[in-house]
């Protein structure tokens, strides 16, 4: 072989090596992924790896009903959820409606410890991100994967629904859900965008609580869903600039009167909201408020759970609230049809299921 031929063969070998290297570089991530199975990014930005799709999911920690209700938006949920902490909020257990295998699930006590959860041998534990220090870190030490979720704002909803879709290897379903929410939000934004800033109604959102014979009115922090929903719906949340703590802040009647708002929305998580509104309408102090005199005090709707919570139902709460603030812009929206559509498309409840499980649970100022 001549020198030139040898050089040509050498160059050919180098090109072949380069091609193999490029091929390997392209294939390597896929190979790595198939070796690791699945990777999901959670609310804390952590990459959680699974060898295969989890088949045993436990939901634990405070705020779990929000995580559970979001997980059950996916048809796979009933077959993969094995246990959850006891849910104490709400007027019933909605999971018994959407999970035909509910009786076979393990209901854990409130504030359950890591050891008890570990005994269930979960493939993953879902919880809110603020539970990391109290519960999540202990589970991580035991080598149990934990996926942290938030579901506190519309943006977090999109992110966390995608995470769940990826976890259940059903990205198509997560995009359907996101499209549903985006469509409803877009409709509200478009219809209220013509309302000038100075014409937007001033709104007060109150959580009514009653314990030990004493009643209290509380406002949410500025970064909670209740405040965000009022803004999206074209209202001005009068409490937004007040320095509150991390949770509900108690306000006096004097402060409520001083705000002199156009609309008052009242929610109650443990007392019947219709009863609450009736009591307020019988109170001579409350009836002297302008919003009450003008019949602009509204009982926030609820079925199993309240529509103001960052439960998936918040999208119903948004539509309802916008229709109350701007009735002329939403006069064509059939709210009860919206409710049916919500449960049909998101929770696969047909008309019979809706009539049986949901219709009689509805309370609040609904048509």
């Amino acid at each position: 072989m001549s020198h030139i031929e040898k050089k040509g063969a050498h160059m050919k070998n180098i090109r072949t090596v380069y091609k193999i290297m490029v091929l390997v570089l392209f294939l390597l991530p896929g190979m790595a992924s198939s070796l690791c199975g699945l990777e999901v990014t959670d609310a804390l930005g952590r990459e959680v790896s699974f060898e295969q799709q989890p088949q045993r999911i436990v939901i634990a920690g405070r705020g779990l009903l929000i995580v559970a209700d979001a997980l059950y938006l996916f048809p796979e949920a009933p077959s993969v959820v094995v246990a959850f902490e006891k849910i104490t909020l709400g007027k019933g257990n909605f999971l018994t409606v959407v999970d035909p295998h509910y009786a076979m699930k393990t209901v854990l006590p409130i504030d359950v410890g890591a050891e008890r959860i570990a005994s269930l041998r979960p493939d993953v534990v879902l919880m809110k991100s603020y539970m990391q220090r109290k519960l999540g870190s202990s589970l991580e030490l035991l080598g149990i994967p934990v996926l942290y979720l938030d579901f506190e704002t519309p943006d977090q909803y999109e992110r966390d629904i995608r995470a769940l879709g990826h976890l259940l290897e059903n990205d198509e379903r997560s995009e359907e859900i996101i499209a549903f929410y985006r469509g409803r939000i877009r409709r509200v934004r478009e219809r209220v965008k013509s309302v000038a800033e100075q014409e937007k109604p001033r709104v007060l959102f109150l959580y009514y609580s009653e314990r030990g014979g004493s009643r209290a009115f509380n406002i949410p922090p500025a970064d909670w869903m209740q405040t965000i929903v009022v803004e999206i719906a074209g209202g001005i949340p009068v409490w937004k600039d007040i320095k509150t703590g991390q949770g509900w802040t108690r306000v006096s009647f004097e402060q409520i009167a001083a705000w002199d708002v156009d609309h008052i929305f009242v929610t109650s998580y443990f007392t019947d909201i219709d009863e609450v509104k009736d009591r307020l309408l019988e109170d001579p102090l409350w009836t002297s408020l302008r919003a009450v005199r003008e019949d602009q005090i509204h009982a926030f709707p609820t079925d199993y759970y309240n529509w103001d919570l960052p439960d998936p139902r918040w999208i119903l709460g948004l539509t309802w609230l916008a229709s109350r603030l701007h009735p002329e812009e939403f006069s064509d929206v059939d709210l009860m049809a919206e409710v049916r559509t919500f449960f049909r498309e998101l929770y696969f409840l047909d008309e019979a299921g809706y009539n049986r499980y949901i219709k009689n649970m509805l309370h609040g100022d609904l048509p």
Binding site: S209, G213, A216, K243, F253, E254, A257, D260, Y269
Partner: protein, 322 residues
């Protein structure tokens, strides 16, 4: 004393016009004439709240003075004999397990406060060493610790979303839900108790002496102490059942009163009542006016009371010329 009393009257009068409506600050008389809601607010919300805060301060101030004189210990306060923690435990039980009635909460708080006192007395009789006062102090500490543990258990089992925040807010103390109903329910106990304490105040000077000297003066120390303690605890228990745990007033106010008026209880006891009332009314005004959200009264009394106390104790008393 006269100046202080006048000051109290002025502060009370101003408090009626101070609030968050129609804006944070004082409401003008003109606005008051034209605004029916403002008048309603003053009569139905501010006035009962003012009366309760006044009674609370006077009760805790007087009771604190009685306790510190009887126990010859400047660190005791009205809730000392298991009274405060007993009331907290009773209220917690009612909030969690006995329904939503305000009467039940008040009754349970008062009942458990008296149980705390009774338990302290019974235990004190069973302790085999030390004088009566020492035995009562030890028993009081133990009973308070027991009830504190009970409150801890209640907080642990309380629903973290619903019951625990309510319980916590009660434990921090506050008058956010006071109405005329609370005034009517507390007056029949608090006013007679304060009258008893005032009319027997000079006895406190005698009761600080040893039992032998007291006997030689023709006074029955056991009976006298029981009457004074009973009246002090009654007023304290009933007010705590309405306001929740409001600390530091009963501890600091007697010191302030003795600082201004001397140790003679004929003057320092009424002084404690006036200073206690003044301090509590001012703290409650801040609690309901400073921010849009209610500040728990107990936080303010602790914060301001401790700060003012430190300031006063660190300044030298001006020498009087005889």
């Amino acid at each position: 004393m006269i100046l202080l009393t006048l000051g109290l009257v002025v502060v009370c009068a101003l408090s009626l016009f101070l609030g968050r409506y129609p804006s944070a600050g004082f409401v003008s008389p003109t606005a008051l004439r034209e605004d029916e809601l403002a008048r309603n607010l003053i009569v139905n919300l501010r006035l009962p709240r003012l009366l309760i805060s006044l009674l609370l301060g006077m009760s805790l101030g007087a009771a604190g003075q009685v306790f510190q004189m009887l126990f010859a210990n400047p660190l005791v306060e009205p809730g000392f004999l298991g009274v405060s923690q007993g009331a907290a435990f009773g209220a917690g039980l009612a909030v969690l397990y006995l329904g939503n009635s305000a009467w039940v909460v008040q009754a349970m708080a008062a009942l458990c406060a008296f149980c705390g006192l009774l338990l302290s007395y019974v235990l004190a009789h069973r302790i085999r060493f030390g004088g009566w006062i020492l035995r009562l102090v030890l028993a009081g500490i133990s009973v308070s610790a027991l009830f504190t543990a009970g409150v801890g258990v209640l907080k642990y089992v309380a629903d973290p979303l619903h019951e625990l925040p309510e319980l916590t807010f009660w434990l921090l103390g506050g008058l956010w839900n006071v109405s005329w109903r609370h005034v009517y329910s507390t007056l029949p106990v608090v006013v007679p108790s304060l009258i008893i304490l005032c009319s027997l105040r000079w006895r406190l000077n005698v009761l600080t002496l040893s039992d032998e000297v007291i006997h030689s003066l023709g006074v029955s120390p056991g009976r006298e102490r029981a009457v004074l303690l009973g009246a002090a605890v009654a007023a304290t228990a009933v007010m705590i059942s309405v306001s929740g745990l409001v600390g530091w007033i009963g501890l600091i106010v007697p010191h302030l009163a003795r600082r201004f008026f001397g140790v003679d209880t004929r003057i320092s006891l009424p002084g404690s009542m006036v200073i206690g009332g003044l301090f509590t009314v001012i703290c409650d005004d801040i609690a309901r006016t400073a921010m849009a959200g209610e500040i728990p009264l107990g936080i303010l009394t602790s914060m301001l009371g401790a700060a003012f106390f430190l300031l006063l104790m660190s300044t030298r008393r001006r020498a009087t010329v005889q």
